[in-house]
Each structure stands twice: as structure tokens, then as C-alpha cells.
Amino acid sequence: MVSRRVLAGAMLVAALCADARPAAAQTADDLFNDQALQRIDLWVNTRDWHLLRASPESGERYPANLRWNGQTVTNVALRVRGTGSLSAAKPALRVDFDTYATGRTFLGLKTISLRNSYQDPSGLRELLTMKTYRSMGLPASRMAPVALYVNNTYFGYYIVTEEVDEPFLARVYGENTGYLFEYRWNSYYYMEYLGSDLGAYATIYDPRTRETESQGSLYVPVEAMIRTINQASDADFVPAVSAYLDFTAFMRLVAAQAAIAECDGLLGNWGVNNHYLYRMNARSLHQFIPWDASSSLRALDYPLHAGHDENVLMRRAMAVPPLTQIYYDALLEAADLFDSPDAAAAEPSPGWLERETTRLLDLVRPAMYADQVKPYTNDEFEAGAAEVVTFAQFRGDVVRWEARRFKPGGRPVY
């Protein structure tokens, strides 16, 4: 065991050294560059680090210094985040740059998350899922694998993640002055109308911008959107709901989630979950932004219509042919992305998803092996990684075959 740890440590150091780059010209893209295993150092007072791990649910903030690629940011604020990923041994962390200095940013970022891959033994699923979304032009956080050091000692494998906040909104939508909400899972919910009491919507959508505004300002358009989704006539469904929802973006996102087998997303096994909702400033139009994709890339045969009947919005949207067309087109686009060959390769090469999986696996493996606080063994890590590799090899074919079979006017291709 000891020799295995030493080997893992040596591999980790080698991986970090091999990818070491000069400190010049650093941007957020460099931080989220998943072509390398990033190294992030945190310095936290011993007492604070103990308290943070002792009470991860407290939400208490603790001061720290952060260093990445030669740049040190002093006086950042750390707190534990997560619900399903809540862990005392290996806490998922949120790093705020502006808590103790109003308006301060790092590389243009106000906040980053250090996700602990607590529910994903492979450590790959979120990286690959968000990369798939981004490759399809969908709004999604940037991510990169990280070797996290705490107080000069290697702590564990993490994923540095772009937080969904004002800088993210500005990057994705070109504006960030609207209303951003984080979905809070309380119980199984399928976009049913919850009534005219705005408090019902406040229990599932926490404001992340304009937090101090009245409940009316925050939730009247949300209530109106969900009421319209539920109560608009079939004939009026698309024009009425389009006033509140970007239908094309929604259909493409749920298609991408089906393709990547996201079973805990907008149409997942537990109802609506893991997303942010953003309403543009001075408009009633809403956008869904995916978050937390640790449950994807599991079932190779994950059905493309999972959750369609239960979710009111999806059930009604799939009854509208133009929206159905958008959905299946996006599925086929995802399948083509998964299997797209390496244009630079002289010989036939694995598809894009498999190539990305194996490349990231090589980066992640030494950090995972050296990680003594992960909640799974190295064998479990290897088994999880193998599952993802298999998914990456064959999911494109499955999605393509199914999409063509169900697409209106389509038929399976053998």
C-alpha cells in the first residue's frame, strides 16, 4: 500500500511538473484549462480548517489564501457547499473572492467551486458532461481537474468549477443584471403549477442575484411562466410559453442531458433538479442553466425519453412537432459529437467522447491515487473510470439509433 501511495505521489508530481507553465498571460480560460491537471494551494488557519470539516453543514465562511499558477489571492472566503456531496472528510468548497473586499475578482471571477467528486468514483463525469454541453453551445460552467493542496500538503483530487454567477452570466448571455435563481430540491417536482402563492416558488428557487428585492419582483414572472406552462391551451401553448421560456435552448439542453444520460437533471429520476434559472433583465424570458452532473455517463442504455411523461413542460412540448424536431436534431448532434473523429489523425481514431475520456483519465489518475480522503478505493475508481470509457465508446451509436427510430418520419439505421 505504501509503495502504491509513493508511486501515486510521484506520478502526481510528474503530472503537475509536466504541465507547469509560466505565470504570464493568465486568464480564467487558463484556470479552467482541462488539458492539464491544475494545482491549487489553499492556506487556512488550522483551527478554521478543523471547524470547517467538523461542521460542513454550518455554511460558515473561513478566510484563506489561494494560489494558482504563481498568483496568490489573499483573504478569500471558504465555505462548504453541496447537499448530496456534503462531506466532512473531503468537503466540496466554494471560494468567494469578494466576501472580505467588496467587488474584488480573480481572473474576472467572483467565485469558484472546488467540487469533490464525492458521488463519482471516476472523477470524470462532471468534466465530460459540462464539456459536452459547452461543445453543443449550451450554457455550462467551465471545469478543470485539480490537485488541491491545503497548508502545503496534498489534500485530494478536486474539480475547479466556474460558479454560475454574474461573471458567468456576462460570459454566456452578454448581460448579468437579471434575476438568477438556484433550484433547491425539496421533493419530487415536475413543473406543476404550485398556485398563486409566490412563497411556493420561493421554496424551490433561491435568488442568487437581486436577493434583497421583493418577493413580487422576484417570483411573479416565475409563477406566470409555470402557470402558463400548465394552463395555456394546446393551440396557444408555444406562443404563450415562449414569452417566458427560450424553447429552443430548453429542448437542446434536455436533449443533451438525455444523450449524456444525465439521470439527475431537468428530467431526471428525482424530478426537476440541478439547475439554475435565469431571467434576463427587463424581460420575462427565462433560461435553464445546468449544474452538478455527477450522475451522468452511467447507463449506456439510458432512455432518450426518460421523464418526458412526468414533466408537464416536456410532455406538452413533445406534442408540438417543431419542438420535437429540435429535440431529435439535438440528440443526433450530440451523437455526432460523441463519435466525431480526430481530424488530425491519419488513421481512424476513437470518437471525441472516448478520446476526451481517456485523456482526462490519464490526468486524473495520479491525483486520485494520491488522494487519501476520497470516499472510495482506487479499485472503485478504476471500475468507475472503465464504466465511463465504455459509455464513451458506445453511447453515440445508442443515441443515434434511438433518435432516428423515434424522430418523426425517421427509422432506425442498422
Binding site: 492556506w43 478566510p63 489573499t74 483573504n75 472566503a77 497548508n151
Partner: protein, 471 residues
């Protein structure tokens, strides 16, 4: 509250109606305040009153049993003396901007009763009990001490009393020139503690000194908020360590041939050193009305030191006073760490401030030893009127690395600094020797209003009128 008003009314009526002769029964005290030594260094409020231990005035000295000598007193020759003391002060205050939304408020600022006296000429004592702040929940024992004086230059005092630091802090409320002490006195001086002190004066009062040790760092800093120990950590007592204090003043003009009313200039310095357990900083900046402009959000641990310089001079009807005080709190092991050290030491948090104050009794009474009106109200005159002015500054910061931006992080090397500059102008009306009315107009300016009680408003104005009666 109603009882307090009633007591105040009775006291006012009694004091205003007191016969003129009563106010004149202590001619020595009225005219020779400069030569009347206070009961102790730390109880200067007794300065204008007949000092314990000093030879009693002729009329009173001859009487045994109960006598009225500016206050109720019980005396048996030189063997025993017990004076009853009382002080009641209330104030009406208005603040702009009205952050608390209170409007104009009335509050009792001090309600005290006590005794002081002597047993033989070698032992003096004082006991003082009451409320000293508005909205205090309960009264407390304030000064409770015994002073043994085998010789003027070698005295020993023990009990609870003010740690010898800060000219204005050591000045009793009756003798303050302003409604509020300066910000620097409020924030950086230690106040009372239990301890023992050697003190005295020598060389014909050219030199005065005090050296003492106290069980903690006084009652003026906010209370300790000790942290709970971690599981693998030995529990700390969570109490302040002992504080050592020393103070010395010189009256250099006593070496000259100037008349007594001009040679009262005193210059001095003081130092304290104590230890504080791990917890939030005690150096706290508050505006006059209690709004925080430098909060208790930084972790500290280790020595707390103070250094003060002072000067005071009463020149006939005028007076000047100035102080400069620096207080530092260590932050041992409170940093987040760096490549070379986990839990590194942080630069000390420093509070630094000063004030300059001046007064002038326009009705001509002498300032030294306290103003005693020559012609009290309802006794042939209007009392004494004095105008006052003060300028002051108090600032908090830490000396972190210059390349690190200031931060509100509890473990910041460079804490977010802030400061308060204030000027005060006022009028004091000495109705008679017992009743005093003060009116102050105060303007405060914060360096960083965003860290203050009224973000966006850098200037705070306070008007306050205080009525006080005491004997």
C-alpha cells in the same frame, strides 16, 4: 425611571435651594483646589471636593458626628471620616443621520452612590456603586479600594479602581470638560480592574508616579470572547492575563517662580502590558453615539500594550489638555499560513489617537482643581459659564505587507483601516458647586464611511445636553 426622575427633582430642589453659606463652608476647597490632592491617582473626581486625608476645613474639623460639609459626612476628629457621595447625570441627545431611528432621546448616563473617607491619617477608602452607562442592565461595584499612606511618596492601594493610564480616563465624570470622553480615551484606555498599586508624589509634587499589577486589562475593552478549544488542543483558561501598568507625571513649572495658579502644567507618560487569549480583537472603534466604525472581527492573541503621553495645564480661568495614545494587540498564530509556516503570526492591530482640548471660564473662576462658581444661581449670581473646544482623531490599522490589499477578513494581515476625526464645541454651566449643565455639539468624520454605522454618510453630527447633580 419614575423613581430616578423623582430623585433628580428632589436633589435639584435641594441643591438649588441650599443656603449660600453651605456653599461657602469649604473656602479652602473653593480657593485652593490646586493644592488639594485627590484621594488617589485613580479617583480624580474627588479633586474638587474636600480630599480625604487632607486637613479638614476649620468648621468641619471642629465638629464630631454628622456634619454637612458640601455633602453629608460623619466625622470623629482625625480618627474617622465617612463622606456620602452621589452623582446623577441625564442627557438629551440627537444624532444626524439618525441611524438607529430613535429621534431625540433622553437617557440616564450615570447614576452612582458611594462613600469615601479615612481611618486615621494613614488609611483612606472608597466604595462606589451604580450605573455608568445608558441602558445598562444592572448596577455594579465600581471603585472599591483601600489606600494606605505611610508617607506621601510611598502609598499602596489595593482593590478595584482605575488602572493608572490616561489623563482623561482618570478624570472623574464631575470634572470632565465634555459630555463624552474623547474617542481615544474611550477606545484605548483600560478603565477599572482589581489589583494593587504603589504610588505617591515626591519632590514637592514635582513628580508623581504609580506602578501596579492588575488581574486583567480593565473593564473598558469589550469582554473576552474566548474560542472553544479544538479536540486535540489543551483548553485555555479564556481569561486575560495580568496587566502591568506604570504612569509618571512631572510638573516642571514648579521649579520656576511662577505663581501657583500658573505652574500646574503636568506632562507625563504611561504604559500597560497585558495578555489576551485567542479571540476577537478588543480594539474597537465606536462613534460618539456608539455606532461601530472598526468592528470586532479580527482574531487576536498575545500581548496587548498601551503607550500614552499626556499634558495638562490650568492657567487661571483657562485650561489646555492633550493626550496621545497607542494601543496594540498581537495576533500570534492567527494567520492562514503560507509556504513557510502554518498559522503564521500576523502584524499587530493598532489603535492610535490623540486629542487637544481647551476651556475658558468666561465668568473668571479659576480652573485648577475644578470650577467652583463664585456667585451661584439663586445666591446672587448666575453661576459660572465655561466654553470648551476639542479636536480629536482615532484610527485603527495594521502594518501588513504593502502589496496585500486591506481586507475585512478576520485573518487579514492588512486589516481594513478606518478612522474617526471629531471636533466638539460646548458650553458648561456650573449652576453651583453641585449642579452642572453641559451642552456639546460634535461633528465626526469617518475615513471609510462604508465601514461605519451610516454607509454613504461620512459625517455624523451629535447634539447633546447633559444635566448633572452630585456631591
Amino acid at each position: 425611571m419614575r423613581a430616578s426622575f423623582s430623585i433628580a427633582g428632589v436633589l435639584v430642589a435641594a441643591m438649588l435651594g441650599a443656603p449660600h453659606a453651605a456653599a461657602q463652608t469649604d473656602p479652602a476647597a473653593a480657593t485652593s483646589g490646586a493644592s488639594s490632592p485627590p484621594l488617589s491617582w485613580t479617583s480624580l473626581e474627588s479633586a474638587p471636593l474636600t480630599p480625604t486625608g487632607a486637613p479638614p476645613p476649620p468648621n468641619a474639623a471642629k465638629k464630631n458626628g454628622f456634619v454637612w460639609d458640601n455633602r453629608p459626612s460623619l466625622r470623629y476628629g482625625d480618627w474617622f471620616q465617612l463622606d456620602l457621595r452621589a452623582l446623577l447625570e441625564g442627557q438629551v441627545r440627537s444624532v444626524d443621520p439618525d441611524v438607529a431611528g430613535e429621534g431625540t432621546v433622553f437617557e440616564w448616563s450615570r447614576r452612582r452612590m458611594g462613600i469615601q473617607g479615612s481611618v486615621t491619617k494613614y488609611v483612606q477608602y472608597e466604595v462606589d456603586y451604580g450605573f455608568d452607562k445608558a441602558n445598562e442592565d444592572s448596577a455594579e461595584w465600581r471603585d472599591v479600594f483601600v489606600n494606605v499612606r505611610p508617607a506621601t511618596f510611598a502609598q499602596v492601594q489595593g482593590g478595584k479602581f482605575k488602572i493608572p493610564f490616561g489623563y482623561e480616563r482618570l478624570t472623574g465624570p464631575r470634572n470632565l470638560d465634555f459630555v463624552y470622553r474623547s474617542r481615544v480615551s474611550d477606545a484605548l484606555t483600560p478603565g477599572r480592574s482589581i489589583g494593587a498599586m504603589a504610588h505617591g508624589r515626591a519632590l514637592n509634587r514635582l513628580l508623581r508616579y504609580a506602578v501596579g499589577v492588575f488581574e486583567d486589562d480593565g473593564d473598558q475593552p469589550p469582554e473576552i470572547e474566548a474560542l472553544e478549544p479544538l479536540p486535540d488542543e489543551a483548553p485555555e483558561p479564556g481569561q486575560e492575563g495580568r496587566t502591568w501598568a506604570a504612569r509618571a507625571t512631572l510638573a516642571p513649572l514648579r521649579l520656576t517662580s511662577l505663581p501657583g495658579k500658573y505652574n500646574s502644567l503636568e506632562v507625563g507618560g504611561a504604559y500597560t502590558r497585558g495578555t489576551i487569549p485567542e479571540g476577537r480583537n478588543h480594539l474597537q472603534g465606536e462613534t460618539v453615539f456608539g455606532g461601530e466604525f472598526f468592528d470586532r472581527q479580527y482574531y487576536t492573541k498575545g500581548p496587548r500594550t498601551r503607550f500614552g503621553l499626556e499634558a495638562s495645564w490650568a492657567i487661571g480661568p483657562a485650561s489646555l489638555a492633550a493626550e496621545y495614545i497607542v494601543s496594540r494587540e498581537a495576533r500570534e498564530g492567527q494567520g492562514v499560513g503560507n509556504e513557510g509556516q502554518v498559522d503564521n503570526d500576523l502584524p499587530e492591530i493598532e489603535g492610535r489617537g490623540w486629542y487637544v482640548a481647551g476651556t475658558w471660564v468666561v465668568t473668571g473662576e479659576n480652573r485648577d482643581g475644578g470650577v467652583s462658581p463664585k456667585r451661584p444661581l439663586l445666591q446672587g449670581g448666575f453661576g459660572a459659564v465655561e466654553i470648551t473646544a476639542r479636536y480629536e482623531q482615532l484610527r485603527f490599522a495594521s502594518a501588513g505587507p504593502p502589496d496585500e490589499p486591506p481586507s475585512r477578513s478576520p485573518r487579514a494581515a492588512n486589516v481594513a483601516p478606518n478612522g474617526d476625526r471629531a471636533w466638539t464645541v460646548g458650553v458648561n454651566w456650573y449652576v453651583n458647586r453641585w449642579v452642572k449643565v453641559r451642552f456639546n455639539l460634535i461633528n465626526e468624520t469617518l475615513d471609510d464611511p462604508e465601514l461605519g454605522p451610516a454607509p454613504g454618510s461620512s459625517s455624523l453630527r451629535t447634539m447633546v445636553a447633559q444635566f448633572g447633580i452630585g456631591f
